[in-house]
Symmetry: C2
């Protein structure tokens, strides 16, 4: 089943009685070889079935026309949209995306960065601002452009594109307080950096307005069912609660479903708020209050920045390495 090795340029060349150089030329710029040769090589390729080989490209220091994209999770729709945004830019420019995920762990991220660099990607997009020391060292050694996305609270390695999670969370909390809520509880899952930043913003807003911050945190991964569990726990631990601010939409939607099951009126008895503005939440009844973040735009900008950096076109932006895309507060129908 697997004996006959795939054919190389040499095999094609032998078949037509020429050198592989000529075959190489045929593939890269057909007009550089004679009409006659062209058709002979074409026939030989049809017969023998040539599959391109990336190995020599990597071996020489040629551009690989591939970029590495690292996201924490593939099940998280937020990143699916970011990826789409990236590829909208990089695909038309001829770059292949090498995608990997690291389950929110800096150690796994390190392994993934090594993996991507071992394939000589021309640039890297990371979804995190926290990295291991070796991750940073490898990136520096590789000497390729890097764009960090999603949060802009840490100084970037090179460029960063995202929004201020602390401020977003602060603003949403303030808006909820303005609307009259007094007992707002923050629900956090998967204790990654962004969850912590949002808690920080929430806490600051509550404290500033003389209210007591209260939170329920778990390191379990987010899911609808976890949202359901957390709202139950909230009602038990903090019976006065009139609003829950969830670290993401999945938790919030799960919480709403649970309230619907238990006949708790949303928002009359319980206001529920999420983060990011997922499609589900925005389409559902009641429409979920959420911090709407421009995921696709982040992807677009990350792609553009990376490509510009790869092409050394970034002297101008060099001073302005952090790009804030902002966010929008939507109080929806669930508050």
């Amino acid at each position: 089943m697997k004996k006959n090795k795939r054919s190389s340029l040499q095999d094609i060349a032998d078949a037509v009685g020429m050198t592989k150089m000529t075959v190489s030329r045929y593939l890269k710029s057909p007009t550089k070889v004679s009409e006659d040769t062209r058709s002979k090589i074409s026939a030989a390729i049809d017969l023998l079935g040539y599959i391109p080989n990336k190995a020599p490209d990597l071996l020489s220091n040629a551009k690989s026309f591939s970029i590495g994209v690292l996201v924490p999770s593939l099940t998280n729709q937020v990143f699916a949209q970011v990826i789409r945004g990236i590829e909208e830019i990089t695909e038309p420019a001829g770059y292949q995306t090498m995608l990997a995920h690291y389950g929110y762990s800096p150690e796994i991220e390190e392994k993934r960065v090594e993996y991507l660099l071992s394939y000589h990607v021309d640039g890297l997009i990371l979804s995190e601002t926290i990295h291991t020391e070796r991750t940073r060292q490898m990136i520096k050694m590789a000497g390729i452009p890097v764009v960090e996305i999603m949060d802009i609270n840490h100084p970037p390695i090179q460029y960063s594109i995202g929004f201020d999670n602390i401020k977003a969370s602060f603003d949403m909390t303030s808006a909820l307080i303005d609307k009259g809520y007094k007992h707002i509880v923050y629900l956090g899952a998967r204790l990654d950096m962004r969850t912590k930043l949002k808690l920080q913003g929430y806490t600051a807003a509550m404290t500033k307005r003389g209210l007591t911050p209260q939170s329920i945190m778990t390191d379990k991964p987010s899911s609808y069912s976890l949202g359901a569990k957390l709202i139950v726990k909230t009602l038990k631990d903090y019976p006065d609660t009139d609003c829950v601010f969830c670290t993401n939409d999945d938790l919030a939607i799960g919480a709403i479903f649970e309230c619907q099951k238990s006949n708790i009126a949303v928002p009359e008895q319980m206001a529920i708020v999420g983060f990011h503005g997922h499609d589900v939440g925005q389409s559902m009844v009641p429409q979920l209050a959420s911090v709407i973040t421009p995921r696709q735009r982040i992807g677009n900008l990350a792609g553009e920045t990376l490509l510009s950096a790869i092409d050394n076109k970034l002297d101008i932006i060099a001073k302005d390495r952090v790009f804030d895309v902002g966010y929008k507060i939507n109080l929806g129908e669930s508050t």
Copy 2:
């Protein structure tokens, strides 16, 4: 910013006054070099920061310990779960996943297959049974194991793992008819093969029971909002409708939300049914009726089958190349 080339084994070797062969030995099996050399090389690597290089591996015909996984879409949660299932098996076995998507297009799939093969993946998992001629030829030439997943209605290239979309759709439709629904409309989006197979099963069941199959099809990609639009169109085009069978959960959930907005009682006035059994649908109120498919299990089995084939352990299964994982009909609360 990008002058200093990353260091090669030769650079490390030069730094400690040895040949790169010794450095190579140190990396692969440290005990093969002397204690003294070991610490010197280790120090040099720390200083110069060696990043592994896949190029020579690819160039020689060494196993790459990578597998290619092709999914139609990353935004589709179904495939996110399949991927998780695959990696649960392949990661611990030391294989890296090279992931690519092709937007339901056989032509793009062809490009992606070429891309993956150009990186010498050891095996391939495809989410489709329809491929271009060149895709098939390349796979044959490459001589690597291939597993096709999701549907088992077409004879596989080598192995296939999934379920019978026609039968699943037939069974669900029959169950709906049994429950008393008479005017069931099928809603289809993104007219890929599986949508068509499901329509086929639906049509067969309706016809068999003396009912008139009616469908609304669009080639737009599935989304919640499309589900909303389609239910509106259904009510206009087929006012008698008492049940809609959607080609996937996204459409169904969008339809339910729309009904909730328009005060159409689900299921009393309109029953709504989806396909796959997404978390959202299973958690929501009312719980969505759906064909529950074992996505993660498909991934697990695909991973296991592929690894076995890579290790040439599949003489036994060779006769039994199609694996049916089945499905479950859940009539939920939305019927």
